[in-house]
Amino acid sequence: MSYKRLQFLVCKGTGCVASESAEIIDRLNELLKEKNIDDVSVVPTGCFGFCGEGPIVKVQPDNVFYVKVKVSDCEDLINQHVLKGVYVDRLLYVDPVKKEKITNHHDMQFYEKQTRIALQNCGKLNPECIDEYIVEDGYKALHKVLTEMTPEEVVSEIKKSGLRGRGGGGFPTGLKWELTAKEKSDEKYIFCNADEGDPGAFMDRSILEGDPHCIVEAMAIGGYATGANTGIVYIRAEYPLAIQRLQKAVDQARERGLLGKNIFDSGFDFDIHLKLGAGAFVCGEETALIHSVEGSRGEPTSKPPFPSQRGYLGKPTTVNNVETFANIPKIILKGADWFGTMGTEKSKGTKVFALAGKVNNVGLVEVPMGITLREIVYEIGGGIPDGKDFKAVQIGGPSGGVVTELDLDTPIDYENLKAIGAMMGSGGLIVMDEDNDMVQIAKFYLEFTQEESCGKCTPCRVGTKRLLEMLEDLVNLESSPEKVAVMEDLCHTIIDSAACGLGQTAPNPVLSTLKHFKNEYDKYANKEIKKSYSILADKCIGCTRCVRACPVSCISGKVKEVHVIDEDNCIGCGACYGVCKFNAIVKP
């Protein structure tokens, strides 16, 4: 390998690729060639996690982190950083609190409190190069289990680590493996659930795009531990880059004999196949997922029998999610005790969250269990933009609930979140500020779960539909306090009677917002809320931007004259508010 003085690590995760990071790589290579610079290389990597600031280019070993890089910036990166040893000032990240430019990656608050285990190789390795993964001790954990450990010892190590399923349920992974391992069968399967469906969540996609070999290795370890010779990754077709990278990793592993027959001459055979899903949220539920792979409708079935007893094709099957698998090779190599040093008594290790919404630093964050939401929002996230007040954070996606200021200091783990009316879920974390309408938030999530209901059981199919209608009536000011009480009652009925996790948790956002923001529901129910936007006559200059933005043509006024909103026809969409440059629009 030829010596390189500098390396440009360029994010080739989906977000940065959408902002032309592939073109940035091409341009950097082109310039290096043009200028005959042979001691600098360009390395495509997986996601750095700081997606709100992409495309990201990191320069090593200088540890300089450039953000929002454009193709047109490449010339300066070469001429200044490489040739003159001077950082490109305008591309440095600006700390949202201190307003200072950060030159060293270590000084970025976004990363300071993170502990990267599952995301360890993302943003560091070229995900399409198996050799780089091997440099980082890749496939050594697989070698270790196949040559030094019995399947029972592997299960025991995972049990001892305290690793729990990161897909949402938090079921102990070692126990899950043990249940399948104990079943007697001529054929067993191990599934990787990559059907990540929470709105705003992209942890699993990022791991698959940035470190696919880690999942391949972990599935093989799981296969050995449980007695499965076939692994199936159920991944949504709308993740084309993740599919491409994972398929490439599988092909490379097969080529090297790390998948296939007699791996490491141990006598163990294992191979992995990809199954593309159509993106139904309910297929994240393991029985629905298995039915979908079998070619049936993606509908859940009652448990027992559990998949570990009768799963894919009626055979014992283990289903783990991507992030859960991503922890496995590290636990095998470093030991259960090492893993146990992170986290709380009952929730060990780390958790990846997709931090989004009204927060300065948006992206993927991996934090030790036990950290508080306040630390995530204010330290890693850099607080709320524009000096606005924090209102709540929705955790756990559409099945979760809101956490308010009162509970921001609760250490995050499975039990604590449940105790405060939220849930870990797969890791969606959406921050809301004083401007967010919590009834509308509940409606947004319910629209999602209602749309995603598979329709098999009545409480979910009809219950969520009726619940959504009630919420729509409420925001249309056609409800009453009595109807809100009925709505709350319906929530409990759905929870008690729906067949699977999707239905049983669908009302959570409604109940949670009702609990913490009852006053907002009351305002709608008592029709105390003004639905329409209005215009301040002393600020409007008659620029007509709002007129052109209004989708229902309810704003009138001539050029350079004060405009007026027809309050009866205003739908409260806020399009006018978004385009007004003169602060002349007033929110309802």
Partner: protein, 112 residues
Amino acid sequence: MRISNINQLNQIKEKFFSEVHMREVGEMRDSEIINIYVLAVKELNYEAISEFIRKVYGYFEEMKMDKVKVIYKGDENAEAGFDLKISNFGEEFVISKTNVDEVTNELRKIFG
């Protein structure tokens, strides 16, 4: 190539080590590594600077010291051809020399 044993994994690791090691060194904190800032005068062309840094790395490779990070910082106030600011696990040194042989001699005095 089919990988059948740990030796083959180690061979690949060794072969590609330098490619990834640079990134790991970059991630390390100042207290974990030897930091060498090469402050080069602006009259020097890039080839000279590049060659100089290559030789500095070469010296440490010879000494089998791999926790070293060499960072080039353009500095028009550099007194000699190359001013080296060395942070050796917290201990600070400055070397101002014009050519690489003199610099490696100085490095030898510090690191043996």
